[in-house]
Amino acid sequence: MSSTPRLNWVLLLVYGSATIGVLVAAFISPAFRAIAYAPLRDLLVPPPQPIVVDVLYSTEKAAWIEEAVDRFQTSGIRVDGRPIELALSKSGSREMVLAVLDGEAEPDLISPASMLQISLLEDLSAARTDAFDGPVVDRKDVETCRPVLNTPVVLVAWKNRADVLWGDRPNGELWLRLHEAVTEEAWDVYGHPEWGFIKFGQTNPLKSNSGFQTFLLMTYNYAGKSGGLSNDDILDSDFQRWYREFGRNVTKFGDSTGTFMEEIVAYGPSRYDVVAVYEATAIEHIDNAVARYGSQYGGLRVVYPPVTSLSDHPFCVLQADWVAAEEAQAAQVFLDYLTSREIQQLALRHGFRPVDDTIPLSEAGSPFPRYEANGVRLDLPDQVEVPPGNVLNTMLEFWARNVQP
């Protein structure tokens, strides 16, 4: 009789410990956490801290990335049971490279408009041995650093003016004709004195990617090649004279690609005849031009250079001391999400070409087929080779010294 209560105490202790153990395990388990009564849950086991990923991206893709982030946050994707919080900030592509090099920005994931800037960042950070232990990005590592969207540089012009300048079919002489037109100064040479002087706008290559790409395409075009651009090509005095002459007559070297596109529509052809922008930017505004002016001027015409340069919008996880291991891991998860089929289709609807080539540009919801009459192409011209960092630097230095207004 006397041993029974003793046994009960032991049993109670055993069962009790087991119950508490199961409960604690249950609270820790994600499946249980999700359905548990929240205040009790948080009291017993504090929720896991989110991993904050700082994402610095270039402005042209803002509309797409904001929508993609909204979807990501509701997807419930986690790393080791921890939610991922994305802190977005945007800037110009070149600005962001300089901000990282100067230590003013410490992002975990970076996305300029083009691999060109990644190439620059890699070379320049490798050279800054005082500030960095090595290059902060590795563009050869396709797992952590890869293109996510494509959009080529195009010229956008009012159709009536593009037709006069290039005829029905722009050809290999596109840049030469533009150079000639811009330096001829006036439309009266083309039989249209009422259009005044020829107004071409592109962004400043020192500030914005589309301006740099335009400069690169003209440089390649002058050198008569599409790969292997060298410092000698840029230091060639005939080329320098040729380009300086063009630069002097450019109506404006602006800061932002989007602004050019907005202005060519808002002001009509009085302000700009031709601007160099991204294909995606052009697609966004084709309907606006029609709404504003109807069929006057024939609407906007998109003209593709014979060989183009892609903005490939790479996303690269940084390899720097401010990027903790779990931040790198979470950044990688987000990067993989951006290349998922769903988010690639979303990009297409925003006028970008998906890197996922199983998604046809002609699929439902794509704006590409709709604007074929404006010159938008489903195929893509060949691309120039991205020169190495030192050649890019020579180009920038030449521009800063000789052309900078």
């Binding site: 005044g196 002087f197 800061d255 596109m261 009509g268 606006n288 002016y293």
Partner: protein, 558 residues
């Protein structure tokens, strides 16, 4: 034009803005508020003012929870830019009629502060091209709309001896042209730059050496000789043209939106003037783009900057942008379509302009301004008629004397001045002759004037009128500025006689303008208004406190 005029106008405008603000949206006690002040080009007043009221009523808040209050003052774009640079104006936001003068403001600011006043490229609020407004029958006589017209055609008309007779309309008289004062208003400086471009046959790259060209100088001087008078703001100038009709002014430089608005009035029966059309100069024309500039100035706080950005977002949001079309603007938002009154029915053509006239760099703009002041500007012949009757004693006569001296200082050496003092007799203090040679003498004599006797207003005005008829140079702007504090008690002519005398000559815009200042409450305002308005001049109510401001405003006409 001298700097003092500008600074006095600036100071007085700020004072009046403060008075208005005190009577207006004062925050409720207890709540935290952040007030942002905005100085803007007056042409967008009709669109902007109701939006500011709506925004303030919404009680928008900053992130820190402060309620945003916007206070706004309309002002000429050039004078406001200069006022901000010299610190007499300290708004949070500056929204001039166009970006044209921004490089000049930046250049001057950099000299003092080492950095730019305006950073980056500010957003445009609304757009409107600079155009030449012309009465439709006159435009048609010049071949419009089949024949494209340009700045050079306007200049040719302005310099022609024959005027409208050359086009088969002798009854229209001379070609009477107008633009605002280039030291005050955006459209004024644009007009003068366009004249310079037309003179050298360029559409861009106007240089300082172009301005040295004697042909350019004589060309511009000839064009300016057809000016009827200048003015402080484009909005006022447009009103003047649309109220007084074709006999007053044939054509004036203004913005497309003002023409669309006038035509909307005419079509609804509010205005009985003939139709007016916008001529988009064939050489191209600059745009008025109404940039929204949050100033990079030490007096702008972080909280004000945040509040100003919130207000900017409101103005750029679709409903507000859409609203601008009703006022004849083209919205800056490229996704919005254009619609009535922006159509041919309202005298404007949304498919124009075809090209732009490039705004030259800062130093060239300053060069054009200097050239205009020193050489090109149309001189004025002005007769000042000053009441020195016994009732002017005390503060009245002393303030009248000192502000008249200030007024004299605002005039250029090439201008000609006569001063007539009156009580029961009339004394010519100085004859109509160039001011350059007698400036100090006149200043001294005006400062010594004493008051006594009766008021012989009508006779004095009549004498001034006769003086300008006989001795005035028809190639100059001719004006009378008459100040009195009482009613006529001693004239040898009656008011109807005086009115008759003036009315027979005053139809035309280049006739003598009379500006009357009713000084104190006893002055007969109705009579003074009548005298002023038949000439296209203006009547002002004044007192010893505001007399300086009135003289300064009158000076912007010439």
């Amino acid at each position: 034009m001298r700097r003092r005029l500008k600074s006095s106008i600036v100071v007085l405008t700020v004072l009046s803005a403060m008075l208005v603000a005190c009577g207006g949206a004062l925050p409720l006690p207890g709540g935290k508020t952040v007030t942002i002040s905005m100085i803007y080009g007056s042409e967008k007043e009709a669109w902007l003012v109701p939006l500011i009221e709506a925004f303030n009523a919404e009680k928008n808040e900053t992130e820190g929870g402060a309620t945003i209050v916007v206070e706004a003052t309309p002002m000429g774009s050039i004078v406001s830019g200069d006022g901000i640079v010299d610190g007499t104006l300290q708004p949070t936001v500056w929204s001039p009629a166009s970006s044209a003068y921004v490089p000049v403001a930046n250049m001057n600011w950099r000299q003092k502060h080492g950095e730019d006043l305006v950073l980056g490229t500010p957003n445009d609020l609304v757009l409107s091209p600079v155009v030449v407004a012309m009465w439709r029958p006159m435009a048609e006589a010049l071949g419009w709309p089949e024949k494209p017209l340009g700045w050079a055609d306007i200049a040719e008309m302005a310099t022609s001896e024959e005027g409208w007779a050359a086009y088969g309309y002798p009854e229209w008289g001379a070609f009477k042209f107008g633009h605002t004062h280039p030291d005050f208003s955006n459209s004024g400086i644009i007009a003068v730059i366009a004249e310079a471009y037309a003179a050298v046959g360029k559409q861009r790259d106007l240089t300082l050496s172009d301005l040295e060209d004697p042909t350019l100088r004589s060309f511009m001087t000839d064009v300016e000789s057809s000016i009827i008078h200048y003015g402080e703001s484009t909005g006022f100038f447009a009103n003047r043209m649309f109220e007084r009709g074709p006999s007053y002014l044939s054509a004036a430089v203004m913005y497309e939106n003002l023409i669309a608005a006038q035509e909307a009035k005419r079509l609804s029966g509010e205005s009985d003037q003939p139709p007016v059309v916008a001529i988009y100069p064939k050489e191209g024309t600059p745009w008025s783009n109404h940039p929204y500039i949050i100033l990079n100035a030490p007096w702008v706080t972080e909280e004000q900057r945040e509040a100003a950005e919130i207000f900017e977002g409101f103005l750029l949001a679709e409903p507000q942008q859409r609203k601008s079309v009703e006022y004849g603007f083209r919205p800056a938002d490229p996704s919005l379509a254009l619609g009535p009154p922006l159509d041919r029915r309202h005298g404007v053509d949304p498919n124009e302009p075809q090209t732009i006239l490039e705004v030259p760099p800062a130093e060239v703009i300053v060069g054009v301004q200097e050239l205009w002041r020193a050489e090109v500007k149309k001189p004025v012949d002005v007769v000042v008629v000053l009441d020195i009757s016994g009732s002017m004693e005390g503060k009245k006569i002393s303030s009248a004397r000192s502000s008249l001296v200030d007024f004299i200082d605002l005039m250029d050496d090439r201008d000609r001045l006569e001063v007539i003092l009156f009580n029961d007799e009339m004394i010519t203090l100085t004859d109509l002759s160039p001011l350059g040679e007698k400036r100090q003498d006149v200043r001294n004599r005006v400062s010594g004037v004493v008051e006594r006797g009766d008021t012989k207003l009508y006779s004095a005005v009549e004498l001034a009128y006769r003086e300008l008829e006989e001795k005035g140079n028809p190639d100059h702007i001719r004006a009378i500025v008459a100040l009195t504090d009482g009613q006529d008690t001693a004239s040898t002519i009656t008011l109807p006689e005086l009115v008759n005398r003036i009315e027979s000559q005053s139809e035309s815009g280049d006739a003598t303008k009379i500006f009357t200042i009713a000084f104190g409450r006893a002055a007969d305002r109705d009579v003074m208004r009548r005298i002023a308005e038949i000439t296209g001049g203006k009547q002002y109510d004044s007192d010893p406190e505001t007399i300086g401001e009135i003289y300064a405003e009158i000076a912007t006409f010439f």
